[in-house]
Structures are given as C-alpha cells and as structure tokens.
Amino acid sequence: MDNKLVVSQSPHIQTTDNIQKIMLAVIIALFPTTLFSFYLFGIKAVMVVAVAIGSAILFEWLTAKYILKRSSTVWDLSAIVTGLLLALNVPSNLPIWMLLIGTFVAIVVVKLTFGGLGQNIFNPAIAARIFLLISFPVQMTSWPVPFQKSLSMFDAVTGATSLGIMKEGLKNGEQISQIMDKIPSHLEMFYGIMGGSIGEVSALLIILGGIYLIVRKVITWHIPVSVLGAVALFSALMWTINPNKYPDPLFELLTGGLMLGAFFMATDYTTSPMSKSGQIVFGIAIGMLTLIIRYWGAYPEGISFAILIMNSFVPLINKGFKPKLFGALKKKKN
C-alpha cells in the first residue's frame, strides 16, 4: 500500500455549522427589524447602519493586522454583528463621529483588547452603547420621530421615548392614566410605530428574529424567556400593588430596548453563562435589574446596564450553576 491513510481520533464526522454560519444567522435574524427601521427613520438609519458595520470591519481588520499582527478574523462575521447591533442601539440622528467612537470602543477596547471573539468579558455593543450614553447623553437620547423625510443630520424633530415620557410624568406626580394618553398605544408599540433607537422599536419583528434564532438552534429559549418572564412577573406584581405608580406589564415588555436586549444582546455567547440553569439565573437577574433601574434609577431605560452588570457575574454564575451530572442524585450503593 503506497498511499497512507489518515488516522485521527473519533468522532470522524463534524457538524456543517461553523462560527461564520452562526454569525450569518444572527445577521439574517436582524434583517426584519433593520429594514423596518429604514422605513421608519429613512436614509439616516441606513447611514448609521452602514457606517457602524463598515467601521467595525475596518477596526477589526486594522487591529488584527497592525497591532495584534495575527490573521484577520473579519471573515467570521462577528465584527459585522457587533457593528449592526450597536447601530440598532443608537438613535438614527447620532452624529457619525460619535458612532465611530462607539464602534472603536466596541471592537478595539471591549472585544480585541481582551483577546477577541470568545474572550471578551462584556458584550461589545452594549458596553459601547453605554460608553456613548454616558459621554454624549443629549445626542444619545434625542430620538427622531418616525417618518421624517429630511436628509439633514441636525434638524430632525425629536421626542422622548415612551419610557422617558413615563419617567418624566411620574416624577411630576402625574397619574399613569394621564401619561398613557401622551404615548403610543400598546398595539402601536408592538408593531413599532414609535420613536426610539434604530432597531429596538418593533417588538413583533424582534420576536420574529428571535424565534428564527431559536429554531435555527443558534440560541436556546432559556435567556430570552427568563428575561421577559422576570420582567412580566415583577412588573405585574408592582402594577397590582399600585397601578397608579407602576405601568402595566405589557408596557414594560414592549418599550425600550427590552426585546432587542433579551433576544440579541443577553444571548451573546461569550458574555452569557454556559449551563441552562445559569442562563435562567442570568436572565431573571437581567429582567429584575432592568425594572429596578426603570422604576427607581436615574435613567428611564435599564436593559443595557442590567446586561452589562450581569456580564460581570458570568464567571461566578458558571462556577455556581453547573449542569446536572448524569447519575449524580441517586448514589445508592458504592
């Protein structure tokens, strides 16, 4: 026999899935909400998305080539996902130079400094969003009203989000029923006919994308369901206690970045726990923290902070919540 055989350990077959395909699935899942934002916020949203993705790719490529001097990881598409997620988390009239700072923070500081995909402690898009929110609070909370045709970056009509109006109203001692008249109806919120960050407005389309990811087995239901479940239960409790001071659960579920956060940000592989029990604990904590910030914090929205805080607990959760060992319970005879 002249030709040698390949010898390797079992298994001899591998899944056809790979990192690139997984990232592509995430991008596909974000398509509906992205396209809807183009329809809602026009050419500015297109520009923000394009610049965020383009600059994320550029930063990833430049850092790999000139600083880390290693082969480029641009082709795993993770930079595109990060850029897109950041774009979906900012208002459409955010000045481009601020956006560039955001993608730089996400890709270079939060992701690559820690070693790149799989090594970062914090979700890059979330960390960058919070960096921008703290650095540029005005620009990050000026939400253009939907369906404006203006091309200019500066003269868009902006308004507060439902969460902002709610927070402001409650601070001024208004009744919830009065505030509710000033904001879109629950159905409008569900469809996403309202102001907000580019990709967070339509609960319907985000849920569709999330279901696609679950069916495609990119994520499991554990994190999104526990985040949303915790928010629903906790807010239902508070609403029952005092419906004049705490909005109804549906309002909490449909406003802000909760849906986007629950399906696309909290489920980030690298910055979420490994075991299912750990993922549920992580999700519940995110849901609770989000409401605590919304109810009693300084900011109207708390999902980003909640995810960032829980990111830092992931190593601890991984230690404390291990998968259940097969045959661990019934140790009868030895």
């Binding site: 079992s10 298994p11 005879k333």
Partner: protein, 446 residues
C-alpha cells in the same frame, strides 16, 4: 411521544445507505490472522502451536482471566505461526496465523438452520456455555458476555435490555440481523433472561428501523409473549450508550461511576443475543459476525458475514477494491469508531462496520478559539462541561479535571461533533481521563 434519554444528544445525518441489504457471505481468505486481544479485559492465551491442524470452531486460545474470553478458529487448516501483527490502532499484538484449507467444521457444532426454540440448559449451564463459546459484546465494546451475566453479590437483575438501537450513522448490521434472524434473536433474548433470572426484557430500537420494530412486535404478539417488549425510541445519538438506553427505557439513572446492575438492569447488544442463541442452541462458538461495509464512494456497500481474522485487505478486494480517493478507513461507526492505521489488520469480534471516507471528509476542519456558545454543554449526555475539561486538560490541571467529572465521559463524541469552532474537545477529555485514572490508581495504591 417516543421515548428517549433526557439529557443532551445530537442527531447527525443517518446515512444508512446499506439498510435492507441482505447479509452476504464472502469467499474465505487464503490465510486468517486471529488476534489474541479481541475483548475488553485481559488478552487470551494461545493453546495451539505452529503446524497444528485446526477445524472451524475449535478452541485455539483460552481466556486470560475472568474478564477475558476464549477464542475459536474461524477456519480449518494449519497454524502457520504465532506472531506480532498490527491491530486496528497500529500497535503490534500477538496473533495466531492460520493457513486456510477447506472449510471443515468441528463435529460438535450443529450446522442445521432450523429454529431451536426450547431452552433446556439451566441458568448456570447457559452462562458456562456462553463463556466457553467466547461470546463478547458485539456492539463494539467487546466486553465478555458471561461477566455481565454473573450478577455481583448484593444486587438483583430486574430487566434485561437488548440494545438494538444502532444509533451510529451508517451502520446497519444489527438492523439487518433483526430482519433476517428475528426468531433466533427472540430465543437468544429468552436464553439471556433465563441466565439472569429476570421476567422482563426490553428490546430498544430507534424509530428509523420501523420494519424491524414491526417484525419483532408481530412475532412476539403471535407467541402471546408479554415478557419481551419492543420499545420504539426517538432517533438520537448516543442512545446506544448503556446509561442512556437504560434511562430512555426505564427512566432510571445509573449512578455516576456505577454499573447498570446498580439500577437492576443488564444491557446486551442484539448481535450478542443472536450469538448467544447460536452458542447455546447450536453449540456454535463466536467465530463470525456481520460487518457493514459503507461510507463514501464504496463500490459495493452492504452487510457481510465475515469470519473473525479475515484480513481487511481480503475483504476490501472481495468487495470491489479500494477507490483511489479513499483517505481514511474507520473500524466501527463514524462517531466512536477507530481510524485504521494499516489495512492488513484483521476483522475482530468488535468490528461492526468498515467505513470509507474520501478526501473531502477524511480530515478535520481547522480548530478555532472557543466562542463559548455552550453547544458542547447542551449536547453532553452525561451532563459535563466539555469545554472546561478540555481547558483543564490543555493546562494539565488533572485535579480540576477530576473534580469536574472527567471520568464520567462516555467518549460519545457529541461535543466534538457539534463544536462550531471545530475544537478537539474529546481528544483532550480522553487525555484527561487517562491522567485522572492514573492519579486515582496511584492514590489507592498508597
């Protein structure tokens, strides 16, 4: 809802291209090489010498201990020599090499093909017969069957479980055996039940073999036999793992580090049940078995009856030769089989399939850094964290590996299969297992 095990599991493409292909005999080779370590446990000891004449079914090697098995000649002819030859892993092992002359069977073997349903032997006689006839587990692990039938003190067998799951992709030898030897398998199961003293047996079959499920159920209904129950299982790998199969059928969990008998179960492969039938009812030792020839670009895929010791090269030539682009040959299934180092190696009692891989799928994809997707954790049927054990093994942190239940791994390969970063998880977990086991052994010696 079909039954299955609850934790983890994967479903690779089934690719059972040889299902419903009748079992075919192939021409006897000119020479056979019968390895002396064909079973799990101690190797057997040769009792023949060069130039001895042997018949088919004549004992040529004795068990080298309790956990070991006798070996019988698979051909008639003359012993040439006892020599070291490479086994499936490429290690040189002792083997008896016999030149084939005719096909003369030992007189004690009942060559009749009619069904012998009546079981006359006592349980003890059955176990002795099985031990004498060199029966080992034919699912691939080759654990001596008589050892499993001797229930240790303090335990009682409640259920016999016949493993007819064949959860490995490609393999169909068990499936075909069930279709062709249905009655014999039922009698074999009865014999095993009698040996164990149990009143209930389950035959677990995955639902991708509906014809086998139907046939066995029909035969049992005809006999009005309620003691044996056919259980259709959802297709999920590694359902053929003993612990997973017991969980799927009875809901019981074998404790970590424990044996199936701890929860009252004994698992035997369906091929073993057939071998037991032949041994007990026809006095026929284990010297041949069904082997599936399959894979990519196989000239004549099918299920073949091969004598133990047939050189793989002979088998390959008889079935149309090796296509040029074949780069890897696997002994067993694609998930747990062993890649063959040298095609001069012989067929052994554990050869359930021969699998060809061409150059497109013989090499692994390049390993990338872990992205912590937790897919390995989700698919592990044992509830382990493969990524973490791999990390510990990479850094030689054996104690950490032990604490994280390294030894509970059943080496099913689901983690390596599912990893989107193509990380060699199982390679490192195996490394960890060896080192942890050595450390534990050293500890008990002190």
């Amino acid at each position: 809802m079909l039954k299955t095990f609850s934790k983890g599991g994967v479903h690779p493409p089934e690719k059972k291209i040889t299902s419903n292909k009748n079992i075919v005999n192939i021409e006897l080779p000119k020479q056979v090489t019968i390895l002396l370590n064909q079973n799990l446990g101690a190797p057997s000891k040769s009792i023949v010498k060069a130039s001895d004449k042997v018949k088919v079914g004549q004992k040529i090697a004795e068990a080298g201990g309790f956990v070991s098995a006798n070996i019988h000649s698979s051909v008639s002819g003359t012993v040439v020599k006892i020599d070291k030859v490479p086994d499936a892993s490429g290690y040189k092992r002792d083997a008896i090499i016999i030149n084939v002359e005719g096909d003369e069977w030992d007189e004690s073997i009942d060559k009749s093909t009619e069904l012998k349903a009546e079981i006359t032997l006592t349980p003890e006689e059955i176990i002795n017969k099985i031990q004498e006839m060199g029966i080992v587990g034919l699912g691939g692990a080759t654990f001596p069957t008589h050892v499993k039938l001797k229930v240790p003190q303090g335990y009682k067998a409640e259920y016999l479980i016949i493993n007819a799951v064949e959860c490995e992709p490609f393999l169909t030898s068990d499936h075909q055996l069930m279709l062709e030897k249905t009655e014999q398998i039922i009698v074999g199961t009865k014999i095993l039940m009698k040996a164990l003293g149990v009143n209930k047996a389950f035959i677990g079959i995955e639902n991708n073999k509906p014809d086998a499920i139907k046939l066995l159920t029909e035969k049992l209904t005809q006999k009005q036999d309620n003691s044996i129950e056919v259980v259709a299982l959802k297709v999920k790998y590694p359902q053929g793992g003993e612990k997973q199969l017991i969980k799927a059928i009875t809901g019981r969990e074998v404790p970590s580090g424990g044996l199936p008998i701890y929860v009252g179960c004994v698992v035997q492969n369906v091929g073993t049940a057939f071998a037991v039938y032949e041994a007990v009812q026809h006095n026929k030792p284990l010297f041949e078995r069904v082997v599936t020839l399959t894979g990519t670009n196989v000239p004549n895929p099918g299920n073949y009856l091969l004598r133990i010791g047939t050189p793989l090269l002979h088998f390959i030539e008889q079935t149309g030769g090796l296509p040029e682009n074949i780069q890897k040959i696997v002994n067993g299934g694609p998930m747990m089989g062993k890649a063959i180092y040298d095609i001069s190696m012989p067929v052994t009692k554990g050869t359930s399939g021969i699998l060809y891989f061409d150059n497109s799928d013989s090499k692994r994809k390049t390993s990338q850094p872990c992205i912590r997707c937790a897919k390995c954790v989700n698919v592990c049927p044992q509830g382990l964290e493969p990524y973490q054990i791999m990390n510990f093994a990479e850094r030689k942190q054996w104690q950490e590996a032990e604490v994280n239940h390294n030894l509970d791994c059943i080496e099913c390969g689901s983690c390596s299969y599912v990893c989107p970063a193509s990380r060699p998880l199982l390679d490192y977990i195996r490394l960890g297992k060896q080192n942890v086991a050595a450390i534990i052994k050293a500890r008990t010696v002190k």
